[in-house]
Symmetry: C2
Subunit: 215 residues, 2 copies
DNA sequence: ACGATAGATTGATAAATATCAAGACGACGC
DNA sequence: GCGTCGTCTTGATATTTATCAATCTATCGT
């Protein structure tokens, strides 16, 4: 994008550091800022029906919540830090103005939004086509790949959050890990060893159209 | 958008009429066309794990699949006509070129994409925060409003598809209708009468952040 | 070292949902 | 009118998932 437009955006933005478990946005509130996770991790969640569920984890350099900002609408999800995190916040007004002014910026935002959309669709397929155990198995395999295929995976958050992300209760997550033991999944706190990758893969049946985030 | 750009798009587009149950796109295929439903109804679905699930119904004048076209990526879902439908198909190459050339067009696409994104998020919340019966109750209430609040709702598709859309089996949908009988839901084929709206609403607990599609 | 606490696990049970197998109903063609 | 077909419904059962209660474990501050 044009240097001057970039400068204007940066000038209007706030960069803040937050401790863990700080709620940054609340569903229903107007979308005042586009948030960009620069460091750490933010959990997007929603409440309703006496329940709470996690919809997404955002890590550097991911944004939230772009769609609400572009539509000038209310947030559909709440967000809180999982760990100590640095977040860049750009006033949504500035985002929209720059969007109209700078084609390259607009193009970039669209690419981001389209990727986000596809991520959510994949997650929807994940939820509707797989059981809890299968979702866990596929997540382990994906993390394994992302973390360098060393045979060990470290979980990105505590197990309660992980359970909500996978669409199950914490108790169920424990049992799902138990179910995966015969497939070489050895749990040690947040560190998981995968000793029988073929068997686990056979169970998980990963598909590029769900599990490959780059597609 | 500029008339000349519009003319170019239209010139490149195909308008076709399809009978019911014709598959228009297949997940995994490259996104050759942006599709716009002009008349009728298209069901977007996905397969995997020996199962199939419906993700969305698209009615006039909705588009699919915008994100894949903009990213020049593969379709994540398959699409088939539910009833006899007319569909406008614009080659994705033309969409992308025009997107770069015409700011107004770009802005319209972004608005559409952002709306689609929010629709999917709402559906994700619907799935993860509600039981099957609650999802059905809320759907009935939403359709009731959309169809003019006459006390009668006509289902937008056959019950098998409806069940998949709600994330349940056809058998379960039948039973869910049975569960809703004490709440004034009288089923007569695809025509449903709602005789106790308050009670149904109490059960459904609709939320604007899930059930209002215009937000 | 000591309890206090939050997170995680386990067991028992209940609720939600899926599966399998019939049976009912309605639309359609002849 | 009468099969025929596909859809929908119903019943019986199994699987999956949630809930509730209790226990365990690790961490932390004092």
């Amino acid at each position: 994008m044009a240097d001057e437009n970039f400068a204007l955006l940066v000038q209007a933005a706030y960069l803040q550091t937050f401790p863990p478990q700080v709620q940054l946005i609340t569903e229903g509130d107007p979308a005042d800022f586009l948030h960009i996770v620069v460091e750490g991790c933010v959990e997007l969640f929603a409440e309703g029906n006496q329940r709470e569920t996690t919809l997404q984890l955002v890590r550097p350099y991911g944004t939230f919540i772009l769609a609400a900002v572009l539509k000038d609408a209310a947030y559909l999800m709440s967000g809180r830090t999982v760990e100590r995190s640095r977040v860049l916040m750009i006033p949504s007004q500035n985002v929209r103005v720059t969007f109209d002014r700078d084609v390259a910026f607009a193009r970039a935002l669209v690419a981001e939004l389209a990727s986000d959309f596809r991520t959510v669709i994949k997650e929807q397929k994940n939820q509707k086509l797989r059981t809890g155990v299968e979702r866990l198995a596929n997540l382990l395999l994906r993390l394994h790949g992302e973390q360098g295929s060393t045979g060990t995976v470290s979980l990105p958050c505590d197990k309660r959050t992980l359970a909500a992300l996978l669409g199950m209760t914490p108790e169920n997550l424990s049992r799902a890990f138990g179910t995966l033991k015969p497939y070489g999944v050895v749990v040690n706190g947040g560190e998981i060893r995968l000793t029988m990758l073929e068997d686990l893969t056979t169970l998980a049946k990963p598909t590029r159209l769900i599990d490959d985030l780059n597609i």
